[in-house]
């Protein structure tokens, strides 16, 4: 709720604003909470005008109530489930990425987070023919790898080129650039600027920890606020534009127990609705291409389920179903 200004709503003139300010009522909240009879007496304004003004302000700034049944109908029609292109991941995600939600992939460096994101982008662009926005914040994206993944799916070069054109790549190396990018996206969609066929269905942010980690901790108070601002942007983007948001996160070591845990702390752990943990299998260590994926947070399936994924053969259409590690 903002500052009272002339013209904020019909009926609020500059004189009224100045009279109210002289009595200490500067913001909308102040006016809505004030005792209007008293204000009317002190300021010399008509009580009816103040009541009408308050009603307009409440209507303007308060949230709009939705009927539960309408909401359910809207959800049924607007939510889509996007397969990731990896069979075992789809099993853990209950058929795929849900639009309107934020899904997170956590893992140690080199565990394959960027590879999974690239595979999802390639699958959505080629298999589902939808647009993807890939926000790269640590330089892990190489278009040649996406091309490899696409070549494994189809030998037709035109299809590959078409799929590559559906993937938009933006680079954002600090938090303000990333917030700018998300704001641009909002504006572009609201003005209905579309680049090619298909609508935007997936936004991949790789990685969130890279832009947020330099801000947290220490004497800075702002870090948490900026992280929550980013979280809010991502969630409202997912909900308003009906896209699936996929983010990646690092791992840090817990100070007391020495265990590995996802970075960015407890506040961030409430943001994604689904969380997948990538880890290397015990047999291959860090050199093999097999990874164990564990579901650590999910609104639909019981947590603790595990599947294995072979990063080396990502993207081949024949790669479906689960392969238990050997």
């Amino acid at each position: 709720m903002g500052v009272l200004r002339a013209g904020l709503c019909p009926g609020l003139t500059q004189d009224m604003v100045q009279l109210l300010q002289s009595r200490g009522i500067k913001t909308v909240v102040d006016l809505v909470c004030a005792d209007l009879e008293e204000v009317a007496q002190k300021c010399g304004l008509s009580y009816k005008a103040l009541v009408a003004l308050r009603r307009v302000l409440l209507a303007q700034f308060s949230a709009f109530p939705f009927n539960g049944a309408d909401l359910y109908e809207e959800l049924k029609t607007s939510t889509a489930i996007l397969s990731t292109g990896i069979g075992s991941l789809d099993k853990l995600l209950d058929a795929g990425l849900y639009t309107g939600e934020v899904t997170e992939i956590v893992g140690a460096p080199g565990s394959g987070k960027t590879q999974v994101c690239l595979c999802v982008a390639a699958h959505v662009a080629h298999g589902l023919q939808q647009n993807v926005l890939y926000i790269d914040s640590n330089g892990g994206l190489t278009a040649s790898r996406i091309l490899q993944l696409l070549q494994a799916r189809s030998p037709d070069e035109e299809e590959q080129a078409g799929a590559l054109q559906r993937i938009q790549v933006v680079r954002a190396f600090d938090i303000f650039q990333m917030l700018d990018v998300l704001q641009d996206l909002r504006g572009a969609v609201s003005q209905q600027v579309s680049s090619s066929s298909g609508t935007l269905k997936v936004v991949v942010v790789d990685s969130v920890a890279a832009v947020v980690a330099p801000l947290l901790g220490g004497q800075q108070r702002e870090g948490l606020a900026l992280m929550m601002q980013l979280a809010r942007e991502l969630k409202t983007l997912a909900r308003d534009l009906s896209v699936a948001v996929l983010v990646t996160n690092h791992m840090t070591r817990d100070r007391d127990s020495g265990q590995l845990k996802p970075a960015l702390g407890r506040s961030w752990s409430f943001v994604p609705s689904t969380r997948l943990l990538l880890d290397s299998t015990q047999s291959s260590g860090s050199l093999g291409s097999w990874r164990v994926v564990c579901l650590t947070k999910s609104p639909r399936l019981p947590t603790g389920c595990q599947e294995t994924v072979d990063l080396g053969s990502l993207g081949t259409p024949a790669f479906q179903g689960d392969h238990k590690g050997h």
Binding site: G11, K48, F64, I146, R171, D174, V193
Partner: protein, 400 residues
Amino acid sequence: MRVERITEEAGQVSQNVFEFLRAPEPEASCSQAADASPSVFRLTSQGAADAGVRARLALGARECARRWFEMQRDLVSLPLSPAVRVKLASAGFQTAEELLEVKPSELSKEVGISKEEALETLQIIRRECLTNKTSYSVTAESGRKCTALELLEQEHTQNFIITFCSALDNILGGGIPLTKTTEICGAPGVGKTQLCMQLAIDVQIPECFGGVEGEAVFIDTEGSFMVDRVVDLATACIQHLQLIAGTHMEEEHPKALQDFTLENILSHIYYFRCRDYTELLAQVYLLSDFLSEHSKVRLVIVDGIAFPFRHDLDDLSLRTRLLNGLAQQMISLANNHRLAGKVGDMLLQYGLSFTGTKSKDGISLEKELATRSSNLAWKTPWTEEPGRLQPVGSQESDTT
């Protein structure tokens, strides 16, 4: 369409609402309100008797509200100074749009900040909001947005910086890639600084020989940069290229080799010496300006990123934060200036290690030669690492 519907229903609006609007022509005020804000829609929907009308108006209001909401930008997301932001919040300002129409003098009086701060704040806000509004359909400045297809084309034309060790080049996929950061870890004495010095020379190889023909920035924190070793490496490289030019009797090869002399090679390596982590951080953050002036730089080497952080810093979380920030800054530089950033480091648990040198402005190596060569001592003998890395000094036989 919507405006006409509103003017129709305006007649049915209840008495006190109409009285509140107090407009001489209800149609005009309603059409104004239709464009301005969704509040009037909701208001008229409350007063309207017909449920169907109310529903239609409510839908219109929701869509309007959504559109309106999307254009507002929260002040938290703008890069303002924290003190100013706190004062703006306590004065009640929350979105950027509210500040767009305010004059600096008004703002400084209301919020309680100085006129300069108010002016600066408004400049930031105007720049952010206006660039957003105008550039939706166009790619953003500095070409940040592109499709994967365009990125692929860029990558195909990009060169690599060869290391003169074919095994290393093979595993790297051609050499050190540009626009990315590469890290080299190893125990002391394994050859990281040697490789860094070799690369500082390799980046200058002319294009007709398959090089990048760029300059190098060498940031040194451990003081392990040996100028006489660089002279050896450079001489070997020149001899190697002369052999290649001998087999290719085309025009460009000998001509390009004329510029590839020892003096030129050494003068295109910009050497910085940083003695503690503050100097390292300052150097890396100031590098952006340096790189804008010296646009031919293609390689930034930081030799020993962990060294200053290990000794001076007791606060571990601060160290992690600084390193993360440094990493992001390096990646951003590499991307914006099309460089390869390279770091050599001792074995560490976490990723990036940079090394930096101390001096604020880059001194070209020729000047440094005179003051430093007497101080250098050869600390660890050059050993041949069994396996991958091969001694890069004596080069004539292998490579390529």
